[in-house]
């Protein structure tokens, strides 16, 4: 194992190719599950689990899976881990399960697990696929949490459910609604492009 490569595969997901800003996939939960920091973090961690596990398994099976049926195989592998997440959150994190609703099963079509399976895990050894999955997943978690932080702070005046703004603060409830999510993500994407292009 090449440690340097392992670290590189891990770190690229945290900044250079951070989803969904640099690697524009998985926008639906980015918009829907970021009204509160706890939702954003929860969604990110669910995805990290699915992505890491599916990357490992697909990489393990990459020499067995025939090219013709690779998409159905990927879907079955991803769906299996999604259902595990569904059952586990339902059993141990019920409030999170209720607030994320259909977006937990929708991780199947999130595009990030399938995208990484197609672009990375099906071509690379297990250990690097693990690093890739973990890095991309945590990068996605960071993005979701930071977007949720702004939306919750300015839209509700709270962070993690605790009031942090001064008492006279009028929340910009627009940010909590659907159009606010689009605009907020669009502006963040623009700012990320700005930071990226200066380098």
């Amino acid at each position: 194992m090449d440690t340097k490569r392992f670290v590189n595969e891990f770190v690229k997901g945290l900044w250079k190719e951070i989803p969904p800003f640099r690697f524009v996939l998985g926008l639906c939960p980015t918009l829907a599950c970021t009204t509160t920091v706890s939702d954003g973090l929860g969604m990110g961690l669910c995805l990290t689990f699915v992505l890491t596990c599916s990357n490992i398994f697909i990489s393990m099976l990459r020499k067995i899976i025939p090219d013709e049926v690779r998409l159905p195989c990927f879907i079955v592998v991803v769906a299996t881990f999604v259902i595990i997440v569904e059952l586990v959150t339902q059993a141990y994190f019920y409030p999170l399960y209720m607030s994320l609703g259909i977006f937990i099963p929708l991780i199947v079509v999130n595009c990030i697990p399938l995208g990484r399976a197609e672009a990375f895990a099906s071509k690379n050894p297990v250990i690097y696929s693990l690093a890739d999955g973990l890095g991309m997943g945590l990068g996605y978690t960071m993005s979701l949490t930071s977007l949720a932080f702004f939306r919750e702070l300015l839209g509700k005046g709270t962070v993690w459910g605790h009031q942090v703004m001064w008492s006279g603060f009028k929340p910009l409830s627009f940010l909590q609604k659907a159009p606010g999510a689009f605009v907020c993500l669009g502006i963040m994407l623009g700012i990320m492009n700005l930071i990226g292009s200066e380098k």
Partner: protein, 197 residues
């Protein structure tokens, strides 16, 4: 060509089988806990209202009891409240038909058979009319303190429960649901004590 087809189908089937086994295991492992969470979300507010404070978590300690025999038998989930390890009250639900479908009421009752609390947990009554009954503290408090073997009926049916005016149908449904619950009490109590040992 044939060899390829076998390989395609074989691999897909293999992955599906492994996935099915894995999922069944996870499902079996989480089944109990999921049921607890769902019951807690659905029943915890009502259990809190109808049962006096206890040392245990009545939802975690729930007991399933089969009432009736054979095909007529149905399962009732009973929530026991204990103090110092001793059962002193229990809660369970029963239903009766109302205006918009069944009205389900949770009843809290002491081991001696006295009602300590009632709360509607599920209904499809008309907002503004039927819900007047469900939200009326005055109406609901008429049941408190009644014994399981006393007559529980509205005044127009020979009992002493006063219906909420203008909402007789829902008042009847709630009263009947509670009366139904009381009919089950001796059976449930006996089976519960034998289960709890």
């Amino acid at each position: 060509m044939f060899k390829l087809l076998v390989r395609l189908v074989g691999v897909l089937t293999g992955i599906c089988v492994v996935s099915a086994v894995l999922l069944t295991l996870v499902r079996e492992g989480t089944k109990e806990q999921i049921e607890y969470q769902q019951l807690k979300a659905l029943m915890a507010p009502a259990v809190k209202v109808v049962l006096p404070p206890s040392d245990n978590d009545p939802i975690a300690d729930r007991v399933k009891i089969i009432i009736g025999k054979g095909k007529k038998g149905r399962e009732i989930t009973v929530f026991p409240a204990k103090k110092g390890g001793k059962l002193f009250a229990l809660a369970y639900t029963a239903s009766a038909n109302g205006h918009g479908g069944p009205v389900e009421v949770m009843v809290g009752i002491t081991v001696e058979g006295k009602i300590v609390g009632v709360k509607v947990v599920k209904h499809a009554e008309t907002p503004g009319i039927g819900t007047k009954v469900i939200n009326s503290k005055e109406f609901m408090s008429q049941f408190i303190g009644k014994s399981w073997n006393s007559k529980i009926a509205l005044s127009n049916a020979g009992g002493d429960i006063q219906a909420v005016s203008g909402a007789t149908e829902t008042s009847t449904a709630v009263t009947n649901a509670i009366a139904n619950a009381m009919k089950l009490f001796p059976d449930i109590k006996q089976k519960l004590s034998s289960k709890l040992g």
